[in-house]
Amino acid sequence: MVRFEGISKTYPAYRGKPGVNALEGIDFAIARGSITGVIGRSGAGKSSLVRLINGLEKPTTGRVVVDNSDISALAGRELRLAQRSIGMIFQHFNLLSSRTAAANIALPLEIAGWSKAAIKARVAELLDLVGIADKHDRYPSELSGGQKQRVGIARALATRPSVLLSDEATSALDPQTTRAILDLLANINRELGVTIVLITHEMSVVRQLAKEVVVLDAGHVVESGHVADIFTHPKHPITQSFLAEVIGDSLPVSLASRIVPEPVVGSRAVIRVQVRGAGAGDTLIARLARELGLDVSLLSARIDEIGGQHVGSLVLGIPGGESAATRTLAWLSQYQFSAERLGYVA
């Protein structure tokens, strides 16, 4: 549906500011009807990437193919026609303050030259789709953030685009509203079959909505694939740091402060076990206790679900000094669990 072929994007030096290589060597494809998250820190090139898709920016080299047409080669009227099949929503909603909700949604239709009657019918349909039919005559200043973004979504969908681009669309919203907006986007994807490309710096957005993920760092794609695969086995440090945001890799303060490097009499070894995959950690503690005959205690645990896979870690307390700890680590590695000894607590 969307294909990046050998893309690079360089902003030339301007007024004393040095040139910037925003994107380099970008090659990947986004499947029709998918929901793809493009995640990266600020300055990673996400905004440039998404703006290449709808022709707001031109690549320095390479081409962007959307729906079998090379959008990067289009200009003027042809580009404007192609842009009607690509909707976009924004972090700050970008609604016209001089127009009501309905009139904002009507704007792309007016621009596309629809008749008044057709616009009226379509706007009513869209307000209904995004669940704010009662806000028809409200101005943006009278709407909440979530309602504004619903207007933004309705406007982006007005001309029945095949691709919907989301530029940090939930970054200005509270967690509850974010959830509602992401649910709405999931529905739209399911019911209308619109391909959705989300750019975000928030792991929670990718986790809740995306099926595919592209991890961007310093203008390069460092990892891409199914959300479940990428986040159960993150390779790049950036991906790992995004994962850590969700599952956390720090110990509770009360535990961390008591850890000592060497065992003392009656202390327990502290072992962190990484849990990756469906049901991976389900019976771990019971089996460990039964097979090694240890009174395993659970000191801390955090397990979340990403793309239907369990991802997280368990922090176990193993009594019996160094030998028990070593036996436990051996047993864990035998079952392909990645684990490490953090120290000992009394």
């Binding site: 690509i86 909707g87 976009m88 924004f90 700050h92 016209l96 704007l107 792309p108 101005y139 406007r155």
Partner: protein, 221 residues
């Protein structure tokens, strides 16, 4: 004050209103597009033409920094060419228009630049042409600012129009100078000033009211 003098004041008021009204209309007709262009033609903008932008900017600044009374005298040949004469209210409209156009253009430019750049990007993202962006996004969104700018321009024009009396342009300023100053009639001078103050008040209040009306729809419940 005798009825003759009152008649003179009324006649002069209508002359002033005529000059200012027509000059404001023409100044807006020229200054609005010029201002929109100035606001959208720098590097990377909607109608990017940096060189043209710079040249127009210099012309606008030059016109604005020429003292009005000098402008009036300096363009007399041009005024004669356009209006057929260089004397009278109709002739005075020419320098008033030329003085108000760059003034209005700068005010329009400032109002248009106030519009959030994200809205231009948004409209581009769904395939709006540059002209559609101007008429459907920039001007409607800048409307309250534009109305206040026009009010300011009309008030300034009232001030300028008092000066064209110096070259036989007629109007309230002319009356004030000829009767009030040269004939030592302070009551005439006072009457002219009072009428001018009243006119400015009316224009300003009307402009404020319109801008608020447009704005109220936008920002308040």
């Amino acid at each position: 004050m005798s009825p003759e003098l009152i008649n003179l004041i009324i006649q002069a008021t209508f002359e002033s209103l005529y000059m200012v009204g027509v000059a404001a209309l023409l100044g807006t007709a020229l200054g609005l597009p010029l201002g929109v262009f100035l606001a959208t033609s720098r590097k990377g903008e909607l109608f990017a033409a940096p060189a043209v932008n710079r040249v127009l900017g210099i012309v606008v600044n030059a016109t604005r920094s020429t003292p009005f009374i000098i402008l009036v005298v300096a363009i007399i040949p041009f005024t004669r060419l356009v209006a057929g004469t260089s004397i009278g209210s109709t002739a005075a409209i020419v320098p008033l228009t030329i003085a108000s156009t760059p003034f209005i253009a700068r005010l329009v430019e400032a109002a248009i630049r106030e519009v959030d750049g994200g809205l231009i990007e948004t409209a581009s993202s769904f395939g709006a042409s540059p002209l559609q962006i101007v008429f459907k996004v920039l001007i409607p969104e800048a409307l309250p600012g534009l109305l206040l700018a026009l009010t300011l321009a009309v008030v300034s024009l009232l001030g300028y129009s008092a000066m064209v009396g110096a070259v036989g342009g007629g109007g309230l300023g002319d009356l004030g100078i000829r009767y009030g100053y040269q004939r030592f009639m302070p009551e005439m001078m006072l009457a002219v000033v009072v009428v001018l103050i009243a006119l400015v008040q009316i224009v300003q209040s009307a402009g404020d009211y319109l801008a608020r009306r447009v704005n109220r729809r936008l920002r308040h419940r």
